[in-house]
Symmetry: C2
Subunit: 326 residues, 2 copies
Amino acid sequence: MSGLPQGVDVRLAAARLQGVTVRTPLLECAALNERVGGRILIKPEVLQRTGTFKFRGAYNRLVQLTPHEREAGVVAWSSGNHAQGVAAAAALLGIKARIVMPADAPRIKTERTAALGAEIVPYDRLRDDREAIGRALAAAHGAIIVPPYDDPQIVSGQGTVALEIAEDAARLGLTLDALLAPAGGGGLIAGMCLALGDASPATKIYSVEPTGFDDHRLSLIAGKRVANEAGGNSFCDALLAPMPGALTFEINRARLAGGFAVSDDEVAAAMRYAFTEMKLVVEPGGAVALAAVLSGKIDARGKTVAVVLSGGNVDPRLFARVISGL
Amino acid sequence: MSGLPQGVDVRLAAARLQGVTVRTPLLECAALNERVGGRILIKPEVLQRTGTFKFRGAYNRLVQLTPHEREAGVVAWSSGNHAQGVAAAAALLGIKARIVMPADAPRIKTERTAALGAEIVPYDRLRDDREAIGRALAAAHGAIIVPPYDDPQIVSGQGTVALEIAEDAARLGLTLDALLAPAGGGGLIAGMCLALGDASPATKIYSVEPTGFDDHRLSLIAGKRVANEAGGNSFCDALLAPMPGALTFEINRARLAGGFAVSDDEVAAAMRYAFTEMKLVVEPGGAVALAAVLSGKIDARGKTVAVVLSGGNVDPRLFARVISGL
């Protein structure tokens, strides 16, 4: 993986996050292992600050701002989880955060972002250009833009998830055959590629996406960035980015073994499974990698497979419907 | 604590459980710490095999059976969580398990116990004597009875929860000011008393129970075992034992600092909090200790307080109602 941008350093990010992030555990569920006939190592980033891994990248970016930049504040756009990550990191560091969020984002995400002290700027997901709104806002305040994924410091921060998985797996004496993680813009999985690139070359890394938003899968096949077809629909609100990021795809194409796509029904079944057997609250977008394992997209028999549950910010009414099977 | 029964040895139990139980993590939730102004260390036994700590005691008891005893099988009575613990331990060890369960036990508990291969013997909670049914069953098959709490090996197994808490707290450089855990028959909290007795004498240990079933609290005040008044009602199905166990109370009276009682509304609020902020699925009985913290029964300001979330086996429809606030 030559030609990587400067500044992408997952180990440095890990040092910055030490004592600030939750060191999430690596869990096993006997019922799940028995069901698939392998060892599934669950990385529950739902237990992370703000209920998602997004805090890692956001904090890694914000903590490196100069005093002058901190003064001016930050701007971000996000469907909700990056919003909370930026808001929480900004609050910890005493930085003003303005977040451009879809007017139809899950209420739990808007409310939690506001509760962290950020200013919410709503936009219409179908009509408005959120980046244009964000850039105008940043220009007006001289504020720094914190992109959701296409940024070396964001990618490095997210990659610490994989460093922790690798450390804990090594402690168990296990070698990872595969690692599955959700992909929206591809920041998490790109960071994981960087983190495992050298440490665990034999591990196959797969992106998992909702069907219709499987732009990583299609881009890997095409060998170049491909956008999702318009008109797709999925309840995985965290994973609806239109196409892979430029930086993230540069990293991912060099390291990913492939991509899987899962249906909303398979995701709902995974959320129910996590509720019943694992006692974890997982949002739709956070459950896609587990859905890939449960629906047999990957054959885990005799294998050691790490699965990232990337977020748990789901509206109670939606969660109630999903676990009731309605 | 002189005069303790022989065989109560939490460290031996920990050695037996090594590699069989889930070493559940000790979690912190930034939002919770900020809310109470202290450090709350969460021990999520919902992540344990079968979704509750009960597996610990059951396995510790069953693994010590002789080959002849294993042949004859085991009998237990339980509202559902001990049932699953015994069924899972029996399945791992190739032992036949017969479990006497209330006909109105949460369906998730009956189903999961049956799925583990146990034979379910239903009884009427208001009319039948479950112990009599269990004893008759054991006599008929020459089977060993595995009591839910009043047994040295069960108590020792449950106590491993506190050993792990103490180890992880020490690793964080923290001294526990208090430890709160649910009490039904008192097996978990008795095991924790034994485990912390020597290791952490400054730690105050409190039982937490649903109002109307706060027999530990009342018994500690009275200095002797007191039964709950008849006619009480609570949705904490795991904590409806009529009075403290004889063995468990002997241990608990010597070490407990006191007991708290929480209302069903406070428990429901704690379940919602665990869903929203901690992304954990907790059943009513498993959430009482968190409820005590959130409702201010204990002042955690400036303190380090460990809280056990003891189980997560809750019917999806009940959980859906609770998180929707209905």
